[in-house]
Symmetry: C2
Subunit: 452 residues, 2 copies
């Protein structure tokens, strides 16, 4: 019964023997994907029960040798030989960015091609358009590679934990920032110096803004949160702060207080609202995620039923990301061969219809613990004035570090708070930072996660 069903093309009545793939973009991830499809062809065929064939790769540069044995006629500079090719079932978009990638993806969808992509920016910023078109055209959109590189986090969240009410998802989802923070922590050096080194080593882009400014993490968070909470993609609502302001001094105070600083992407649900934020975060040193160093990524998912689960691995790179791309290709290929209808792309799209509505919490109303480093003048009454302003704003102090002396000058004064509301914190810091007889500059603020 199953046999009959499989592989039969409804229109032509022909038995389909293979699933054909076309790739747009032969850069890092494109090369990794192509390499896996070529070099692991037999393995995949054995696991799937049918072969997956790499038919076409379109890129502007088809001269460069990527060291992959491709059949002749596979490479083309004409993207339409992928998007408009009647032989191709799945189009893999690995161009990146919001321009030509978007046009070609939409074109391929309208041509009835299934889509696999690693493009978090495009999904996070134009996901409604893309998933909407895919639904209309009855095609799948696979995006395992968009978050966490080789870690199958999309599958874990969307399928493995489907039985769970998700309480929170948080993680290290940008390898470049984690590499920089790890280096700063281990070697006590300045951000700018480590960034330069990372750029020389190829761990950071020439323009590192997307990574160190937090936008890349925010794109990924929007995708995770949509899956976890059934909310629409909400990239524009993610509060985003990068790591450019982190100093070795704060890292060293963090350590003294028992914390490590990580750039976290955080999505938490409570009281029917979801908060979405990306910012440097102090985490207790003994948390598993605090030990995730270098370019590695890790994501906690806390489900009502499972409690904490954690997923760890390489968040970028040709082969890990290619592995995620190919897992999507395999999943969609299996659906094609078995005649199953497409899955809806994101939990979000279905949840909007029937799930309980979840609002977004404004950053102002988020509650967190805080680390403040004041540039406090070394004179009497300064601590009293600062703690007074905090108290007036309902911010309660958990601990204080004051060290060094510099009469007439400024010394760092570190305060760790209990849970307080962001709005109150901003109000208090604005007031304190205006007290010229108390502080000499802008206060450094880092949010703290962990048990109170």
């Amino acid at each position: 019964m199953a046999k009959e069903k499989e592989n039969k093309n409804k229109k032509t009545g022909q038995i389909k023997k293979t699933v054909n793939v076309g790739i747009l973009g032969f850069g890092t991830v494109g090369s990794g994907t192509a390499r896996i499809l070529v070099e692991n062809k037999d393995l995949l065929s054995a696991r799937l029960g049918f072969p997956v064939t790499l038919k076409k790769i379109a890129d502007l540069d088809i001269k460069k040798d990527r060291g992959i044995a491709l059949g002749k006629d596979v490479l083309t500079t004409d993207a339409r030989q992928v998007t408009d090719n009647p032989d191709i079932d799945i189009v893999v978009e690995l161009i990146g960015g919001l321009g030509v990638a978007r046009q070609l993806m939409m074109r391929a969808i309208k041509n009835g091609k299934h889509i696999v992509t690693a493009n978090k920016a495009l999904l996070a910023e134009h996901g409604q358009e893309i998933f909407g078109a895919a639904k209309k055209c009855g095609v799948n959109v696979g995006f395992e590679a968009s978050v966490g590189g080789g870690i199958p986090i999309i599958k874990a969240l969307g399928e493995g934990l489907i039985a769970n009410r998700i309480n929170y998802v948080y993680g290290i989802v940008n390898g470049t920032s984690n590499y920089i923070l790890t280096k700063m922590t281990n070697e006590g050096v300045e951000f700018s110096k480590v960034l330069k080194e990372a750029q020389e080593l190829g761990y950071a882009e020439a323009d590192p803004t997307l990574d160190v400014g937090g936008a890349d993490s925010a794109h990924k968070l929007a995708i995770l949160a949509s899956l976890a909470f059934g909310i629409p993609l909400s990239y524009e609502s993610v509060y985003t702060e990068g790591i450019t302001g982190i100093t070795p001094l704060d890292i060293s105070f963090a350590s003294e207080l028992g914390f490590k600083i990580k750039l976290l992407a955080i999505a938490k649900a409570a009281d029917g609202q979801v908060e979405l934020r990306v910012h440097p975060t102090m985490l207790p040193k003994d948390y598993l995620i605090s030990k995730v160093d270098g370019v590695m990524n890790a994501i906690y998912v806390n489900g009502q039923e499972t409690g904490d689960t954690l997923y760890y691995g390489r968040g970028a790179g040709d082969m890990p990301t290619g592995s995620a791309v190919v897992s999507d290709i395999a999943g969609i290929a299996q659906r094609i061969m078995s005649g199953a209808p497409p899955k809806s792309g994101l939990g979000a799209i279905k949840m909007k219809k029937s799930g309980p509505p979840m609002g977004l919490r404004r950053m102002d109303e988020v509650e967190s613990m805080y680390y403040f480093r004041f540039s406090a003048l070394d004179r009497p009454m300064v601590l009293s004035k600062i703690s007074g302003v905090l108290g007036e704003n309902n911010i309660s102090i958990a601990s204080v570090i004051q060290k060094g002396r510099k009469e007439g000058g400024a010394v760092p004064l570190v305060i760790l708070t209990h849970k307080a509301m962001e709005r109150n914190v901003r109000k208090a810091l604005k007031k304190i930072d205006s007290l010229r007889a108390v502080v000499t500059g802008k206060t450094c603020l880092i949010r703290v996660e962990g048990e109170e």
Copy 2:
């Protein structure tokens, strides 16, 4: 197009509106599963696009109040009302063990029911029979809950990492043993004392043999290895050693050498052979998995393409395991509603046909680093004699700890080796342990993982 296809029963032509589930066994995991199906019914329905209905639960004890709001007629003491019920699509076997569970599962399969189970022992020991029957009858067998409780490791390995050649899988897959080792490590107390405490707290069974003797880990390893390497289920070939021989003394030496002791289930592939072993293992303290304490589980999967990935969470308990059961129910329900043919249950079954054949490496031929603790007589020439025998057997010493003095008596002499072959190690220890002028008792051996 998709719409038409969905939900139509081929035989009756009726539109199917819900998927019906029957549970065999209303114990811990049965209760967790039932609770999720009842309490998260709306959530699941929103995520899936159709409802899943809990029709029947069969157990001998249907009087006990589990605090779950069940419709009348759901509970029955007659298992056939589940296995033979024409209304039920998916039978969830949560009885455990190899007896009645096996009979009922086979009966349900022959009745055309899809199966979901948490029964690792049954799958590991009778998997060929079960998966064979399932294939013949065209039904799915879901077993996410059989390994790692709430961690979606089966999905990660079988689907998420499908593009990877797997190099190794190793993990902490028995929460009871990990709880005991953690307590022994943190408090320096004897195995038997911690076991007693764990039994009183309900963390260990009255008969703890399956857990602390390693068989439970070996069951799970057989399942993981079959998926990872496409080999048949090979429970009987897993070398298995439990934690009953671990002493606080060895834990303390391990710590001094920079290691933690964990009960690991290890499957490694090299040169076309797979080694399968469960034993207490010394791991470098800074490995992420060394920090997985208490009842938590964690599994490393190293793929050729992704490199190391790690999956962490609760390995047991009503709700985490129920979460895994329900994720399988959801996946199978989706296939039923979309008319997709069943997936083959295990990668193994397919791989046997077309994948490259992988043999099993005999334990004798496994290479590992080793920790030996000799009860050495405190007299001249002892170290020389021991190291002489090791050298004769091609075992090279990495470090030595000898402490304390007890002239005429025995003192612990600890030796850490470089990589050596198990066969040679056994031969050497047999010889050393027979030297009455050198040692006073049986040498303690613990295998060591990590970089050399």
